[in-house]
């Protein structure tokens, strides 16, 4: 049966399913007991029906101190010894305080110890960009982690993808970082209430097209769909593809689309340099050069810090206008007036 779920509601549903399915799954993080971020309870009030603390108890739902390094490190140590922790790091910018644990322990331990460790742990964090929270809370840092072999990275862009991908992440025996885009929070759609899993490394075609491929990531996905609708009115048929997971990346899905359209725009809310868009562009250039009939174009966030003022922030990220403009420039057509 399907019901309407928000992005956060779908994440909450996946967390509840996973907690019910496996005793070894625990949730730790700041303010998870009071359901401050809306994924560990039914309502905002403690002890409301569906409240995780009431349902699973203090042993499996744990508020942590504001100590990201030990939150992340302890989750890793617990994962190496029999638990499957689900860690709520709240804002993505806070992951930096635990960089040593992510890079030196979590990503390396299995490899470095010759396969003796497996580290089934999931780190959730939200990218609060586009909400005038200023430079400290607005980061979209997934490309930094894409550069660290040993981690898996997912960026679901819809409620149903969030639910299915999170279940797969929790069931995966490797460490997974999930980056959730706050601009997607208001999004609601019909989501299957029963359990389902979306495999990591399999992208999704949101819209079929023949003239140009728009690969879009995270919060850029709905913008790319809107751009494609706009382009359709001008007679341009754009295909929109969301890789959904960045590591592993569904590069075959991307290449298949590019082989059909011959043109590629990549829309990615990260900073341009070494962005996911950069990696996708490089892979397509290396592996599908012969299919390309025009240069690739990236639509990213400029390499500057995020300003606070509403007058300054919003237009920095890829949006329907900038994505459509990039598509027209690749197609060498001008916008009809």
């Amino acid at each position: 049966m399907k019901s309407v779920m928000s992005y956060l509601g779908a994440i909450g549903a996946a967390q509840r399913e996973a907690m019910d399915a496996d005793e070894r799954v625990i949730i730790i993080g700041e303010d998870v007991e009071a359901n401050v971020y809306g994924t560990t309870g039914a309502g905002k009030a403690r002890a409301a029906e569906g409240d995780f603390l009431q349902r699973y108890g203090k042993n499996r739902i744990r508020n942590t101190p504001i100590s990201e390094e030990i939150i992340v490190g302890a989750a890793a140590g617990a994962a190496m010894t029999g638990l499957r922790p689900l860690v709520d790091l709240s804002y993505s910018s806070f992951t930096y305080l635990a960089m040593d644990q992510f890079v030196n322990q979590i990503a390396k331990n299995r490899f470095m110890f010759g396969g003796q460790a497996s580290i089934p742990v999931v780190f959730r964090s939200a990218m609060f960009y586009g909400l005038n929270t200023g430079a400290h809370h607005s980061d979209r840092p997934y490309p930094m982690y894409m550069n660290v072999p040993g981690l898996k990275i997912i960026t679901p862009a819809s409620p149903s993808d969030a639910k299915g991908l999170l279940r797969s992440a929790i069931d995966c025996d490797d460490p997974v970082l999930i980056f959730e885009a706050c601009p997607l929070w208001p999004m609601k759609e019909e989501v299957e209430e029963d359990e389902y899993w979306i495999p990591l490394g399999v992208g999704r075609t949101l819209r079929e097209g023949t003239d140009i491929t728009i690969v879009a990531i995270s919060g850029a996905v709905p913008e790319a769909v809107a751009a494609a609708e706009e382009l359709a009115k001008e007679g341009i048929s754009a295909e929109v593809f969301d890789p959904r997971t960045l590591v592993p990346m569904d590069i075959e899905g991307i290449i298949k689309s590019v082989t059909k359209t011959g043109r590629l725009v990549v829309a990615d809310p990260a900073h341009q340099t070494c962005s996911a868009a950069s990696e996708i562009s490089a892979l397509v250039a290396e592996h599908a050069w012969d299919s390309l009939t025009a240069p690739i174009k990236r639509v990213t966030t400029p390499d500057t810090q995020i300003p606070f003022s509403p007058a300054l922030e919003k237009h920095l990220y890829p949006n329907r206008l900038s994505i459509a403009a990039a598509a027209r420039s690749v197609l060498k057509v001008s916008q009809p007036v």
Binding site: G73, A74, A76, G77, T81, D100, R110, G150, D173, I251
Partner: protein
């Protein structure tokens, strides 16, 4: 507590201390002869501190360590051959040649890994204690780290978390008075053990870390406390490394006073324990000589194993990067 220790147990302690000594002496030679690539950090001089702590743990208990890395798994009971093969980078190494001296790990004896990043494995031990607590399996975790690592912030985050959640973890600081060339007192405000007070957990300083029994007793008390659900402890053991920070390192300055060195060299933990065992009529000189001889043979065997083993197959650079691997577009 120590009075209840069986002869068998005490001889096993001496055996493990001798294993560390002879293993590390051999490793040192191998570095100098170019048989081990890179360098190694020996625990020579610190054997009582290492083995006293390891043997206070049960076989199933967890342990993490640091760059001074061979003693910990040996102390926990890991066989020597796969460790030696790892130092040489062989396929038969305990980490299949992917770790090397800095990253030994032997999960079969509860060794969850040594860390080349100073302090970085302390949170891992804390997390292992969290899983023990939640799974209620009675296992205790111990984190070995140096006086240098005692100034890493993650230790304090770990002590705080372990304190509020009463995690069965022991933070064991091997204070060998120096972090590389830096005297501990020049970079350490106050006494390391006293820092536990701020977290309302026991902070014990073992002044004579060259004495197996003293280290064992202190750690055993902490282990029992942890196992009974009372939470973490910080133990600072004062000891001394007899060799240079790492083998082959030539700094050109002698940062350690000659008299200080001579005083500590006179406090050789293996000699002290041997004398104790003989004086207390627990063992005879012949029995202890026999232990020494059998460990010599073990180390020789480990060396031979490391030499005769094949190097790993280089064809798969991604081996064990993930449990669920995927095709890489390179």
């Amino acid at each position: 507590m120590s009075s209840q220790l069986s002869k068998e147990f005490l001889l096993e302690a001496q055996r493990r201390m001798v294993r560390i000594r002879l293993f590390d002496e051999r490793a040192s030679k191998m570095v100098k002869r170019g048989q081990i690539p890179g360098t190694v950090h020996t625990s020579i001089g610190q054997e009582a501190q290492v083995v006293g702590a390891c043997m206070a743990l049960g076989d199933q208990d967890y342990m993490t360590g640091n760059h001074r890395s061979h003693g910990h798994p040996i102390g926990k009971g890991s066989p020597l051959s796969p460790l030696m093969a790892e130092l040489v980078g062989k396929a038969t190494g305990v980490c299949k040649g992917r770790g090397g001296s800095l990253h030994l790990a032997d999960f079969s004896v509860g060794s969850l890994g040594e860390s080349g990043i100073v302090g970085s494995s302390i949170p891992i031990a804390t997390g292992a204690a969290l899983s023990s607590k939640i799974l209620n399996n009675g296992k205790v975790a111990l984190a070995f780290f140096g006086d240098g690592a005692a100034n890493q912030g993650n230790l304090y985050e770990s002590m705080n978390l372990a304190g509020i959640w009463k995690l069965p973890v022991i933070f064991l600081c091997e204070n060998n008075l120096y972090a590389l060339s830096t005297p501990a007192h020049t970079v350490t405000s106050g006494v390391i053990a006293s820092r536990a007070a701020g977290f309302d957990i026991p902070g014990i300083r073992v002044e004579n870390g060259q004495n197996f029994i003293e280290v064992f007793d202190a750690v055993k008390t902490a282990v029992e406390r942890a196992r009974s659900g009372e939470g973490p402890s910080l133990i600072e053991v004062v000891t001394y490394r007899f060799n240079e920070h790492s083998e082959g390192l030539r700094l050109g300055v002698d940062y350690r006073d000659q008299n200080e060195k001579a005083e500590w060299l006179a406090k050789d933990p293996i000699v002290l324990f041997r004398d104790y065992l003989i004086q207390e009529s627990i063992a005879t000189a012949e029995e202890l000589d026999a232990i020494f001889a059998s460990v010599e043979a073990e180390v020789e065997e480990a060396f031979e194993f490391s030499q005769s083993s094949p190097f790993p197959d280089a064809s798969d650079p991604y081996l064990n990067l993930y449990t669920e691997p995927f095709e890489v577009y390179a």
